[in-house]
């Protein structure tokens, strides 16, 4: 089992001095991922977005590993090109190291504009890890809704108004879309559970084909919570089953974390400004109830998948 003291001995490959907001969950995730990847040599690609802006403003760079940024929708396709070049170099004996390739993109670059490139790269089975650092909206452009934005969230393009309660659709199930590509490994996690995250990074990097991590990264700016509450919120997301921690490996689903007491989704919503409007009236209560229904339904569905296509089913 991974130990924090071992991870702490690793080199900081995502260095301090970058320009992320205080309490940025994405910066935490990237740092943890690059700590967990060691000692494997990694080459990385990223989409345009917060991560790129706060880590790569010339002449500064927070990256102590090779990094390429091309455009917003291109994390997967850029990584595919890098992987093809790597395969060529390996085939010709120009490289002897076993390099791993990681692509980073936010939920916009993954769920929306980059979905086609991601699908193509997964289908072609490029061996790389695609990390979606998911803060559930277009935070870099100023908190616009994405298809990862949850039902009822107030964003600048799904504002809570007199008629509408914020976003009126539930989020897209990207995990199932990715899993439908028959990936070698896919998992969902968040920054609070550092061991879960680090273990999944290592599994994903060692998987024999394309792998995917959907990492919930609370965003103080977009979620309107205190920077000091980022880690607490990422835990509440799992404890309410709003963000189940699970993995898909060799055709099997496995839930990695079952809260001892499943908290009501309100506990996750309440500290966040993006849901504040739901707590002042009857209409808001209905939205929360619908969100609770959705969370419960998805959680139950996941447990059923585990029962049907999990370790237990394999034993039976």
């Amino acid at each position: 089992m991974l130990k924090l003291q071992d991870l702490a001995k690793n080199q900081e490959l995502f260095s301090h001095g970058h320009r992320a907001c205080a309490g940025c969950g994405e910066a935490l995730a990237v740092r943890q991922i690059l700590l967990a990847a060691q000692p494997r040599p990694v080459v990385t690609a990223m989409a345009t977005g917060c991560l790129e802006i706060f880590s790569s403003i010339y002449p500064h760079s927070a990256w102590q590993v090779p990094m390429i940024h091309t455009a917003f929708e291109t994390a997967a396709s850029t990584a595919a090109g890098v992987e093809a070049a790597y395969r060529f170099a390996k085939k010709k004996g120009l490289i002897s190291d076993d390099i791993r390739i990681i692509a980073f993109a936010g939920d916009g670059g993954t769920y929306d504009i980059g979905l086609q490139a991601l699908s193509g790269a997964l289908e072609r089975r490029h061996r790389f890890l695609y990390v979606c650092t998911n803060n559930e909206a277009y935070m870099n452009t100023g908190i616009q809704r994405s298809s990862a934005t949850p039902y009822g969230a107030d964003t600048t393009t799904s504002p809570a108004g007199r008629v509408l309660p914020g976003k009126i659709q539930h989020r897209k199930n990207i995990m199932e879309i990715v899993i439908a590509h028959d990936v070698a490994y896919a998992a969902q996690t968040t920054v609070f559970f550092w061991r879960d995250l680090a273990t999944k990074v290592q599994k994903a990097l060692d998987a024999p084909g394309p792998s995917f991590l959907n990492v919930l990264v609370p965003c103080p700016l977009g979620w309107r919570h205190l920077p000091s509450e980022t880690v607490k919120l990422s835990r509440l997301a799992a404890d309410t089953c709003y963000w189940p921690l699970y993995e898909y490996e060799n055709g099997r689903y496995k839930v990695n974390y079952t809260p001892t007491k499943k908290l009501p989704v309100e506990e996750f919503l309440k500290p966040q400004g993006r849901f504040r409007h739901l707590f002042s009236g009857e209409a808001g209560q209905q939205v929360i109830a619908e969100l609770q229904r959705y969370v419960d339904e998805q959680w139950e569905l996941l447990l059923r998948k585990q029962a049907l296509f999990g370790e237990e089913s394999a034993k039976a």
């Binding site: 790569s56 010339y58 940024h69 595919a80 090109g81 070049a85 490139a117 699908s119």
Partner: protein, 384 residues
């Protein structure tokens, strides 16, 4: 070896001989065959290439960028909507100074949908920072593709080699090919600027820049483009010495004493040559200025050549809607603007969407330019 090949076959064959490290591509008419034939070479193990059959042209160019950033020799092919879909990534390839080489079977752009040849796609990409070579014949396309690899790698800039869709891409010609070994020896190994896979020496490719640096990056890219002409001339000279085929960036055909000269790019140069010969036989002093290199714009060469003539017609196989004349026309008139005595320059738009451009059409244009009389700013040749 002398072979009968269509333009697409010739370019695919050149690609086989170049044996690029990575090819990422998505099919589109009329360029499809280039990659289709190339994938046969991959399937038969005749090349070492890592072939990435992507899900769109956007990803094709992006994967090319990713692979080229790893210091590899990278190629692709496309046309029309495909080139338009790549548009965003073209600027990124050039900005990162990656010598990607792309064969383009030039075609019109929608709407309306039309699969036939004109220069709408290539010319629409003119400001992306790519070198652009327009070819008159299949032979020239074959030679240009090989030279483009060397030029791009010496200049650290990406390059498009354009053959006219269907007119060249699908028409068979007799071509003289080179030996595989001669092509590989001519090209040598790439000497990349940087290699992303060198993980012990990490670099950041494609950072964000603010007001304090963006301009300097762009200016250095512009300087790179400004300095590429000697590289082109050097490589073409080298190619000529080795293989006996010389290509000037601007070729003058029967221009010595010409009273009317047409500036033309691509396959229509052949049509205009026929018209020039016919008119010369009638004693009319006409000539052709064939422009092979569209980017970089060879303004000094154009100015020196064209300043001698009193009447010039500029032929565009594309229209820049509501511009003051066709795209090449406006560039030529800009080049000639500061001459003390400016020639009369006429704009002709022809051949859109594959509309046939015949020697009769060319003769009509020559007659009009010779007469020096023209009612409209732009003449649309052969449109009903």
């Amino acid at each position: 070896m002398i072979l009968a090949k269509t333009g697409n076959e010739a370019l695919a064959y050149a690609m086989k001989q170049i044996n690029p490290d990575v090819v990422a591509a998505y099919p589109i008419t009329p360029s499809t065959e280039i990659v289709q034939l190339f994938s046969n070479y991959v399937a038969d193990g005749e090349v070492d290439t890592e072939f990435v059959p992507v899900e769109s042209e956007h990803s094709a160019m992006t994967a090319c960028i990713g692979a080229a950033a790893c210091g590899r020799r990278v190629m692709t092919a496309t046309a029309s909507q495909g080139l338009a879909l790549m548009h965003e990534m073209l600027f990124i390839a050039a900005g990162l100074r990656l010598p990607i080489v792309m064969a383009v079977a030039s075609r019109s752009l929608s709407s309306p949908l039309n699969i036939h040849g004109d220069h709408s796609d290539s010319v629409a990409s003119r400001d992306s920072g790519w070198l652009q070579f327009f070819c008159e014949t299949v032979q020239e396309g074959y030679d240009a593709l090989i030279m483009a690899v060397k030029i791009a790698e010496r200049a650290y800039l990406p390059a498009i080699v354009a053959i006219d869709g269907f007119i060249l891409s699908h028409c068979q010609e007799r071509i003289e090919t080179l030996e595989d070994g001669a092509v590989r020896e001519f090209l040598g190994q790439p000497r990349p600027n940087y290699n992303l896979l060198d993980w012990r020496n990490p670099i950041l490719v494609g950072p964000a820049t603010l007001q304090d640096y963006y301009f300097e990056f762009k200016r250095s890219e512009i300087e790179g483009m400004n300095r590429v002409l000697p590289v082109i001339e050097e490589v073409q000279q080298e190619f000529g010495q080795k293989f006996g085929r010389y290509y000037p960036v601007l070729e003058e055909y029967r221009c010595e004493d010409a009273e009317a000269v047409l500036v033309v790019m691509g396959s229509a140069c052949g049509t205009c040559r026929v018209a020039v010969d016919q008119l010369r036989a009638q004693g009319k002093k006409v000539g052709l200025a064939k422009l092979r290199v569209f980017r970089p714009l060879v303004h000094a060469i154009l100015k020196k050549s064209l300043a001698r003539f009193r009447r010039i017609g500029v032929m565009d196989r594309v229209d820049a809607v509501n511009s003051y004349g066709g795209p090449l026309f406006t560039e030529i008139t800009s080049v000639l603007y500061d001459l003390p005595e400016r020639p009369a320059v006429f704009s002709y738009v022809y051949g859109l969407g594959g509309r046939e451009f015949t020697p009769e059409d060319a003769r009509m244009v020559y007659e009009q330019v010779l007469s020096g009389k023209k009612d409209e700013l732009v003449t649309y040749v052969g449109v009903r």
